[in-house]
Every structure is written in structure tokens, then in C-alpha cells.
Symmetry: C2
Subunit: 385 residues, 2 copies
């Protein structure tokens, strides 16, 4: 059956489309940086197949596998039979900044810039509560060795349905906040983001937050889905397409995000009047519920660094009770007298004392994933007219 | 009162003593690498004061602060009134590899080599169970904002008692495994390691695993103890002793370990016959219960890398049921024909996709902590006689 792209949803016109079929697009990075909670129509879109057409009245989510009680849940039951929680979480594609990696040595994959991530407010039942309803408390001694597989309705050319898995310990962590999202930013989930229900696995790469969720399976092993075993893996630098098949099994799937950052303003190649006042702005994030502790900015190639202002406190005041444990940080650095031309560097640190590697060449990998090398943006000198 | 160093315990003769008073010593790194579980007398010793003389029959651990029920627990009660758990955990001083950092630019602190860490089996009640007995379940909605302070019997020149704190969420995490250790490697805790009871906070820097534990306090804020607020912090690279006082408050305490590694064999400056067979050996570890996923070794200055063999599986077979979530990994790399002279590089990756920064200069900090730059060991050419 040929993939049917005749029923794709409408999308915002300002997105940068990196691939049309399946649809993969990111917003302008400057727009991303304007809203701490990304407007829904500006949220990056990462699809692996045509967007399914689903009637939410008939849609069922099955829970099967190593569980005492199989479940088949309607959307109505997901909304009404379980406590609903609201979390703020930034999702990021593992391929964010892939294009930059390709500039050193060609990699394959959707050619993302640095805006393959967005932050939203998600609402729905906790995966933990669904699994408890399926009786997994009886399996508690085994939790550390189990996995929870997700499969969507979307039929990809690589596999019958898009899928992945996460460790049971993440699914069952009371503070792990994995939810089956029915809402995004206060409205029913849009079709591009998984209507009527998607998983949101906060602190993990976006690939695990399966959209158009149809099956949940508790397994003794990781998912065998193509997207768990043959994609989203970091290889050693010497692995090329000739030998990659020896490395799929040896390389664990990427799960938690590493420490990441970007400069959103100025854009690369932007011209700024030398000596002018300017405020450099960007984002930073990290995985596993850890916190960004510091963002350093250098205007002289890393010789000296200054510490940027982080926005988490400001944000907490503005949005009240929302937990920002799973969301990015915004940062800014006012410069009184901009040296230009120059290259602006930035790097972030998180509360596990990890920081970003200096040189992209040393973390290059064949699939171009998890590029978290130092961020470098070239600024040109604007002539004073 | 002058510090009394007349009742220090006997120590193994092969330790490298980095400071006599207080006593700070590390084993030979080659010895460390011989035993997955470090023999007790070879475990690195990091003291801040004379070792207290304690009669365990009179010793009490108090639990106070924001709790419904204050407790005063004898060692006997800690052992008999609570379930006893056994965990394997590697403790590492945040100053490990400080001497190397000082070689680039002088830092202050105990001049550790790369053996300020060791792995042991700890047994005692879970901190979580002690706190539950003090009624903290009633505070559950507040857990994310609370801290648990520890204070020891030892009187340091910097503070009345050595102390620190950890987040309540770590203390209460059922899978966080923070224990009040009464035993180390199957025997009563030795005096140098906290007799009769110490905290073991696995996945965190050693500084939080307070020895000779006397007080536990549940607080709304981090500990005010000198060792929480005026030590064990990473500063931005431009911070020197003239301005450091502006930075203590701005810099969060180090808690979780970053991704780390070392080459234990050969030693730096060792001579190896060119072209001979040789097996390079080392350790790697990371924080927060994460796993080491890969160790890369380069014999040509980082131009090309090979992937070392990790020892976790072997170890699991040997020690049976011990959880190795909190312990280091051993790695080895057999080389058929050793190029010498050369410099061996190594770097580790963990399952949050973080890796070690290339250049020590870029993570240098005034206190010389958390040096996890690429490991570099120089090998000389041994002449064939």
C-alpha cells in the first residue's frame, strides 16, 4: 500500500520544511526563543509517515505483555478513569543540529537546524497509573529489568508501526512524569502531534514520545521496533556505512538527553554594528530531570567566558505552579559594546557537572545524533551608515 | 581546642599520603584496578579532621528539623529496627585528578592523583526508612523543595562538625539507595570510614557521604555547613581568589558525579617495548545511577579511537545478585603491537549521551574539582635488551 499523503493537516507557513514526505519541519529559531511555552503551531514536527486519520470515538489503546490484566482503553476512559496531570516538557529530536554535523563529514537523516525542539504543556493520565491499573505492582521486584513498548497507528516504510520503548523504571518512577498526553497547551492534541493520544517521555529524546498511540506492551526486552534497534544510536567515530551493521547491537539506544544549548539571537552570519549594545539570547536544556546550572558565553573564541543570566526563576514567577523540571532554560547575555566581526561561543553545564564537548569532530557519528558540541555563531560587522 | 591527632587508626603502608593532618590518602591506581570491590584497607581516605573516638554503645543519631516525630537512634536500633539493605557503590572525591588540573594553573586543595575513588559493598538501613519512621510521608507534597542535612562527630577547623546536605527527593527515592552504612565489605565500618555509622549517597560526590554520622536534619534549605556552601563548587574559569567570594552563592554545590574515566595500566611515564603485546586497563564511572555505555581509547592523539571492553557483565556473573548500578566499570583494551613512545587517550560515555570534555584548560576551575577531561597517559619506549 502506497503511503497516503492526501490527508495531511495544515501547517504554519513560516516553518522550515526539512522533508515533505514524511513531514519534518522546524520553526525559525528566533521565534522559538520568543515564547517559553512554544505556540502549538510553531512546535517542531517530526513525522515518520503520513499523519493518520483517527476517529477518537473508536480509538483504543491496548495494554498487553507481561501484565496480570490486559486493558483496552478508550480515549474517554483515559480522560475520565484516571487522574489527569499537567506537565511542562521540552521535546527534542536526537537529530537536532545534524546539519552542522554534516558540514564536517556527511551524515544521513533529516537535515535539522537547531530548532528541532520545542516546549509545551501536556495533560493526560500518567503512564504509571495506567500500568498500575494493569496490575504491574505485582511485578515490582522485576521492574529494573522490564521495558515498556509503545506503538503508534502510523505506518512507516521502515516498520509496520512507528514504535520504541523505555525502561520500566522510568515508566513507573512517581517523579518520572511519563504521561499519555490528550492535550497540548490547553487544547486537544493536534493531528501533527499525535491526536488523539501520544506518549510524552520527559527528559528523553523525542523519538520515545510515540504519537497516535495504539499499543503499550510490557516486555522483558527493549522494543524490537526498527526505530529502537536500527535508528537513534550513537556510533563510535570510525563506524561508516560499510560496517554499521556490526554496530547496531553493540550500541545502546539513546534515551536521556545530554546537556545542550543554542544561540538563537543573533543568527549565524547576522551583521551587527561594531561597538553597539546587543543582547545575545539562547536556550539550554539537559536530560533526566536534571537542571541547567550555568551557561557560559565567549566573544573571543573561548579565551575568556562570561556567565549568562538564566530565565528559570523569572519563568517560575510568570507561570505559577508549573513544574519546570522537564523544560528548557532560556538565557541571555547583554553586551555593552559588541565586538564584530566575531564568533560567539556558548556552552551549558548541568547539575551532574557535565558540560558540552568542545569540538564537533570528536563527537561526530554516522547518524548525526546528539550534536552537543560548543555552539559557534559568526557575527559580521555592519557598517555604520 | 587543638585538634588531637593522637588516636588515628593504623593505615596500610602502600597508600600515597597527600596530607597527613587531616589524613588524606589514595591507593596505588594499579592496586585499585586489581579488585572490582576495593579491599577495605586500600579504600581511599578523605578526612577533614582527626578521626573521632566513638563508643558505639553510647552513640546516637538524631533526626530533627521539619519532621512530625523526632528520633534518637542507637546503633543497635539502626541495625535491628529497620530492614538492612546491601548496596555496591563507588565513592569518588570531587577533587580526584586535581593535581593534573594544577599542572595547567595552580588550584588549592588536597593534591589527589587519579585514585581518590574506590568501590565497596555497604550495608545498613535505608535513609528513606529512617525518615519514614520520622513521619516524612506527611510532607510528601513538599519533598521536591526539602533537603536532608547530615552532620558528623568530627570537628573540623572550618566548621564545628563536618556536614552537607542532599535533596529530599534523592533521600526518599525508593531506587536512590541512600543508606546509613554500618558495614563495609562485610565487616563493621572501620574508624577511617566512619565507625560506627556513615551516610552513603550513591551516585553523588563523596563529600555528601558524611562519616561518623550524628545528626540528620530535614530542612527547607540546603545545609549551611561550610562544606556545602564554601567548598565543593565549580566556578567559571575567570574566578580567582580575589573575586571568589562573589561566586559562592551563585554556584550550586556539586552533587551528582559527571562521567569520568582513568587509565590505570600503564602508569604515566611507564616504558613499554615497542611492538609488544600489552593490555591497557582502566576504570570509568558516572553519576546518578546512570550507566557507562562506552569507553574509547586512542593511541594516536585522538585521530582514531577503538572501543574498549567493559567489565560489567563479567562482574555480574562473579558477584551474583549485587546491583552494580552505583559502581564503576572496569575496561580493558588489548593491543597486539604497542606503538611506543606514544600518548594513550581515553574517554567514556554514559547513557545520558554525555561524554568527557577534550581539554582540561576549558574546564579548569579554582577549586580543582570534577576534572573529567580526556585522560592522557604518556608511554615511553623500552629498549629491547
Amino acid at each position: 500500500m502506497a503511503a497516503n499523503y492526501n490527508q495531511e493537516p495544515k501547517r504554519a507557513a513560516n516553518l522550515t520544511v526539512n522533508e515533505i514526505r514524511p513531514f519534518n519541519a522546524e520553526p525559525p529559531v528566533s521565534v522559538l526563543r520568543e515564547h517559553f511555552v512554544t505556540p502549538t503551531d510553531q512546535f517542531y514536527i517530526r513525522n515518520h509517515a503520513p499523519v493518520p486519520v483517527i476517529d477518537s470515538r473508536n480509538h483504543l489503546v491496548s495494554v498487553t505483555g507481561l501484565i496480570p490484566l490486559e486493558l483496552n482503553l478508550t480515549v474517554n476512559q483515559l480522560e475520565n478513569d484516571f487522574p489527569q496531570v499537567t506537565i511542562m516538557a521540552t521535546l527534542m529530536c536526537a537529530g537536532n543540529r545534524r546539519t552542522e554535523m554534516s558540514m564536517f563529514k556527511k551524515v544521513r537523516g533529516v537535515p535539522w537546524g537547531n530548532a528541532a525542539l520545542s516546549n509545551a504543556i501536556w495533560r493526560g493520565p500518567k503512564l504509571r497509573d495506567i500500568l498500575l491499573a494493569a496490575g504491574v505492582d505485582k511485578l515490582e521486584p522485576m521492574w529494573d529489568s522490564l521495558h515498556v513498548e509503545f506503538e503508534g497507528v502510523d505506518i512507516c516504510k521502515e516498520n509496520k508501526g512507528y514504535g520504541s520503548s523505555i525502561p520500566m523504571s522510568k515508566a513507573m518512577d512517581p517523579r518520572g512524569d511519563t504521561v499519555l498526553a490528550l492535550q497540548m497547551n490547553g487544547h486537544v492534541l493536534p493531528r501533527d502531534h499525535g491526536y488523539p493520544v501520544r506518549v510524552v517521555v520527559p527528559g528523553y529524546i523525542g523519538a520515545r514520545s510515540v504519537k497516535w498511540l495504539k499499543h503499550i506492551r510490557v516486555l522483558r526486552h527493549e522494543s524490537n521496533n526498527y526505530f529502537q534497534v536500527k535508528d537513534y544510536k550513537i556510533f563510535p567515530p570510525h563506524v561508516d556505512w560499510d560496517i554499521v551493521d556490526n554496530w547496531w547491537d553493540k550500541s545502546p539506544p539513546i534515551q536521556e538527553l545530554s546537556v545542550q544549548a543554542a544561540i538563537c539571537q543573533p543568527g549565524d552570519g547576522e551583521a551587527i554594528t561594531p561597538g553597539s549594545k546587543y543582547t545575545i539570547k539562547g536556550y539550554a536544556l539537559t536530560g533526566g530531570g536534571r537542571r541547567i546550572t550555568r551557561v557560559d558565553v565567549s566573544l573571543n573564541g573561548g579565551k575568556t567566558w562570561e556567565v549568562a543570566r538564566l530565565f528559570s526563576d523569572l519563568h517560575n514567577q510568570k507561570t505559577g505552579s508549573h513544574n519546570t523540571k522537564w523544560s528548557w532554560e532560556f538565557w541571555e547575555m547583554p553586551v555593552m559594546s559588541m565586538p564584530s566581526p566575531c564568533t560567539i561561543f556558548c556552552r551549558a553545564w548541568d547539575d551532574s557537572s557535565n558540560t558540552m564537548p568542545e569540538d564537533l569532530r570528536h563527537i561526530w557519528n554516522l547518524r548525526g545524533v546528539m550534536n552537543n558540541s560548543w555552539v559557534k555563531v559568526k557575527v559580521l560587522a555592519k557598517s555604520k551608515v
